[in-house]
């Protein structure tokens, strides 16, 4: 086996000297001792440092004879085996072992790569600062940046633009889909479709449109007549301006006064309206304007008879069609009743509906008739006439007196009846046709008299403004009664919320002599407790405490007067 060893030495002036040795043996020794085959003089080499064993097949084995060890192909080792090309590092020397060109079998090139072993050591120094380790701020920054960007922007966007990807993302809880974008808990009523952001968020970078809301909330009414006004322009709001999603389980609705006052403080300057400019309940709000009937018994098509009139007007009156003095009924000594003297309280007649918000209408049969009986004949005091039905009343009187006339034995205190009416009937004896005619003629006249008396002088006229009207079928006209109603058509008043107050705190009924008097409290009464939405010295009351934004359904019908008439 021929082994050629070339030792390359770099001289100071840049010249290179090459010493060449040839060996024809299988074991070659390396060391600092002069008896070694390959002599390396640096102190970084032991006297007998290593041994090369060359096999016939060209494989070169290397083993360290020194504790100091050697580097074989860059790795520290005590021994190793090289095939083809390899590199050994001993002290500051690099020993390159290659297959040689014939006739040389193995070619070894030795080159000093550092000044000494100390320099080699310092050049191969491991990391001394964190910069030199695997730690890297720059790499960390890239990884952090793209990880977050891909997970929390890339994936949700992919889900938005590709529905299938979105489905997958929503199905796998660990992966952040657009759910990771949720800015806050969704409200309880909307939970059932909360997984799908795109039910509401339809187009990117566009605020949620009202169409998304109205798709389900079909019956929600507008703020004003959509046929007359462009809602968007009029209110300048979207549903989401007031109704805030993603604010927790409770669905939040804007309640602040500015929501309304931004427009309503100068509404008249903006639109053609009969509504007054208002801004603050405590500071700038018109006197209440209840809906009042200005004419007694108006014709059906007389819409002008109904007017909203401010409570500040003098001689305010509401044509109830009734004659009802509150003062008499509320006498502290009480009123006479069939069961004796009775002290009446307001709620003996004025009772709220089941919800407690509004007052039920006054009903003659329930509230009045116990005292104001509709009896008509002293012979039958328990018999009463029907209320509010002159036609039935007429026929009932006719039938009643025809019956008593034919029955006989009728005793009339005031105007004596004909004998045939007063006479007791003898069993088995029938009236002659003449007697029958006489009796029935009396009955007809009596019925007409009683009717006139009841209507005009005794019963109806006690409470109603009775008008004689020859054109009417019955001969009289009793005006429609308008007592309890929704006085405030633009606002809501809830009696239930005020039940701790006494009725007379607001309604001055004890002194009222006529039912035409309007007993509604003015704004000053309310202001005793309520103040504007932005004040806090009293109960801060914003607009929607009394007013609604979504106005009643019938507003949508376009017939504004129809709204006014209850």
């Amino acid at each position: 086996m021929q082994t050629r060893v070339r030792h390359i030495v770099h001289k100071r002036k840049g010249t290179v000297v090459q010493n060449e040795q040839l060996f024809d043996k299988s074991v070659i020794t390396i060391g600092r001792s002069t008896d070694q085959d390959i002599f390396l003089s640096d102190l970084g080499v032991a006297y007998r440092h290593a041994r090369l064993t060359i096999s016939a097949n060209g494989q070169v084995g290397v083993s360290s004879l020194s504790n100091a060890g050697i580097y074989v192909n860059g790795r520290f080792a005590q021994s190793g085996s090289l095939k083809g090309r390899g590199e050994i590092l001993i002290g500051p020397y690099k020993i390159l072992i290659e297959q040689g060109d014939a006739p040389v079998d193995i070619d070894i090139v030795i080159e000093q790569v550092a000044e000494d072993i100390v320099e080699v050591q310092s050049e191969n120094m491991p990391a001394l600062t964190l910069d030199q380790t695997w730690l890297s701020r720059r790499r960390g920054a890239w990884v952090g940046f793209f990880l977050v960007l891909i997970l929390f922007l890339g994936l949700p966007l992919a889900g938005f633009f590709n529905a299938d990807t979105g489905e997958v993302l929503r199905a796998i809880p660990v992966l952040p889909g657009d759910g990771a974008w949720e800015s806050g808990e969704i409200s309880a009523p909307h939970r059932h479709f909360a997984d799908d952001c795109n039910v509401c968020h339809v187009r990117p970078f566009e605020k949620v449109r009202d169409t998304a809301c109205v798709a389900c909330h079909k019956s929600t009414t507008a703020h004003a007549d959509p046929e007359l006004f462009d809602m968007q322009e009029l209110t300048g709001t979207r549903c989401a301006t007031c109704h805030k999603e993603h604010s927790g389980t409770a669905f939040l609705t804007r309640q602040d006064q500015e929501l309304c006052s931004d427009c309503h403080r100068q509404l008249r300057q903006k639109v053609d309206t009969r509504l007054a400019n208002v801004e603050d309940f405590g500071e700038r709000h018109v006197e209440f304007r209840p809906l009042l009937l200005t004419r007694l018994n108006p014709a059906r098509d007389d819409k002008a008879a109904w007017q909203r009139i401010g409570l500040e007007e003098q001689n305010l009156k509401h044509e109830t069609g009734m004659l009802f003095p509150h003062d008499v009924h509320l006498e502290t000594n009480g009123v006479e009743s069939p069961t004796g003297n009775r002290v009446l309280e307001c709620n003996d007649c004025h009772q709220t509906d089941a919800g407690g918000n509004y007052m039920l209408p006054i009903r003659m049969e329930i509230h009045c008739q116990e005292c104001h009986r509709l009896d008509f004949d002293q012979n039958t005091p328990d018999r009463q006439l029907p209320h509010a039905d002159l036609k039935t009343l007429s026929s009932m009187l006719n039938e009643y007196y025809a019956y008593v006339a034919l029955q006989g034995n009728y005793q009339d205190a005031d105007i004596p009846a004909p004998d045939i009416v007063r006479m007791r009937r003898i069993p088995g004896k029938e009236l002659t046709p003449k007697q029958t005619r006489t009796a029935l003629a009396w009955a007809q006249e009596k019925a007409a008299n009683v009717k006139e008396e009841v209507i005009e002088f005794r019963s109806c006229n006690t409470c109603h403004k009775v008008l004689r009207d020859p054109a009417a079928e019955s001969g009289w006209n009793l005006p429609d009664v308008h007592t309890s109603q929704r006085w405030f058509t633009k606002g809501d008043f809830d009696h239930k919320a005020h039940r701790s107050s006494k009725c007379e705190d607001c309604h001055d009924a004890r002194e009222s002599k006529s039912s035409e008097e309007v007993l509604l409290p003015g704004i000053d009464v309310c202001r005793d407790c309520h103040t504007g939405g932005n004040s806090n010295d009293k109960l801060a009351s914003n607009c929607i405490m009394c007013h609604q934004f979504h106005l009643p359904d019938n507003l949508l019908l376009g017939d504004r007067e129809k709204v006014v008439h209850p």
């Binding site: 006297y47 020194s66 964190l130 730690l135 960390g140 940046f145 949620v208």
Partner: protein, 298 residues
């Protein structure tokens, strides 16, 4: 002008006052603001605070670029760092008010959490910069790590020469010890270091045995005389061994210990940056996702 001016008191702490002004302004605005809905990032004040916070974050991150622009005349790096610290602290107030104290498992809170992580690591960084440099000076004096390294290399060379004169065995041992001298390495090694060099324990043992032999020689004076020639030689060897142990176990270990401590302190000084910098870039991404998402699903 003082040689060293703390970043915290730069120009009468002018950025401290700016930051304080920002915080007080934001808190006042938050207190006065009476939004129609519960406070959140989507009110006008919320948008304002969010915009200011975003601009601040970009400005704070620009510090990483500015400090590398040695020719820039936009303020001084010390000034920028001072502003970086104080405005970064102000961000805690501004961004927290921006949230309206609404948190959840979402990108928005992630961005906030990352920001807080960056700020807290930054606060720790300020502590590091005020604490470790003093310890480093106490440890290695004015010697730079490079100078320490060179001193160690000189000792290694002296030791090799000395060892080669004692015996082949000693030389090999020293050679091995030089090769196996451990400095630094992995992150944990740098942070926690390594105390003793086991390869030199043999050398210590050798020196001890040699001393023992010297003592026993006194006991038998005849033998001592007989072996005087050898003993003379041995005396040299013993003296050289003593020198060698002094070099490697005394001077070199001391220097190594100093260097390791220096590395360790430098690592402590820098470690927070490995959180601060990557997390600030993660924050930049989260902030981007936050801003895009809130307007994407407006």
């Amino acid at each position: 002008m003082a040689m060293h001016q703390s970043i915290l008191s730069y120009r009468g702490s002018r950025y401290f006052w700016w930051a304080l002004l920002l915080c007080v302004g934001a808190i006042l605005a938050y207190a006065i603001d009476n939004p129609t809905m519960p406070p959140n990032g989507g009110t006008w004040l919320g948008y304002t605070l969010g915009t200011i916070s975003t601009l601040l974050i970009l400005l704070l991150m620009w510090f990483g670029i500015r400090k590398r622009r040695y020719r820039s005349r936009v303020g001084t790096v010390v000034g920028w760092l001072s502003a970086h610290v104080y405005l970064g602290l102000a961000l805690i107030v501004l961004a927290t008010l921006h949230t309206g104290f609404q948190f959840g498992w979402n990108i928005h809170t992630l961005a906030y959490a990352l920001m807080m992580l960056v700020i807290v690591s930054g606060i720790y960084g300020v502590y590091c910069y005020s604490h470790f440099p003093t310890l480093m000076t106490d440890n290695s004096g004015e010697s730079a790590p490079d100078s320490l390294l060179r001193q160690i290399q000189d000792i290694d060379r002296q030791a090799l020469t000395l060892a080669s004169e004692i015996s082949d065995e000693t030389h090999e041992r020293v050679l091995k010890s030089i090769r196996r001298t451990r400095l630094g390495g992995g992150v944990l090694k740098i942070l926690f270091g390594k105390k003793k060099n086991p390869d030199l324990q043999g050398l210590v043992q050798e020196a001890r045995v040699e001393q023992q032999r010297m003592k026993s020689r006194d006991v038998d004076s005849t033998m001592a005389f007989m072996a005087s020639r050898i003993a003379n030689e041995r005396e040299d060897s013993s003296e050289m061994l003593r020198q060698l142990t002094d070099l490697l176990l005394g001077q070199k270990e001391r220097l190594l210990e100093q260097l390791r401590r220096d590395m360790q302190l430098k690592a402590y000084l820098d470690l927070w940056l490995y959180i601060h910098v990557p997390m600030s870039f993660a924050l930049l991404a989260a902030l981007t996702a936050h801003i895009v998402s809130v307007f994407f699903y407006w």
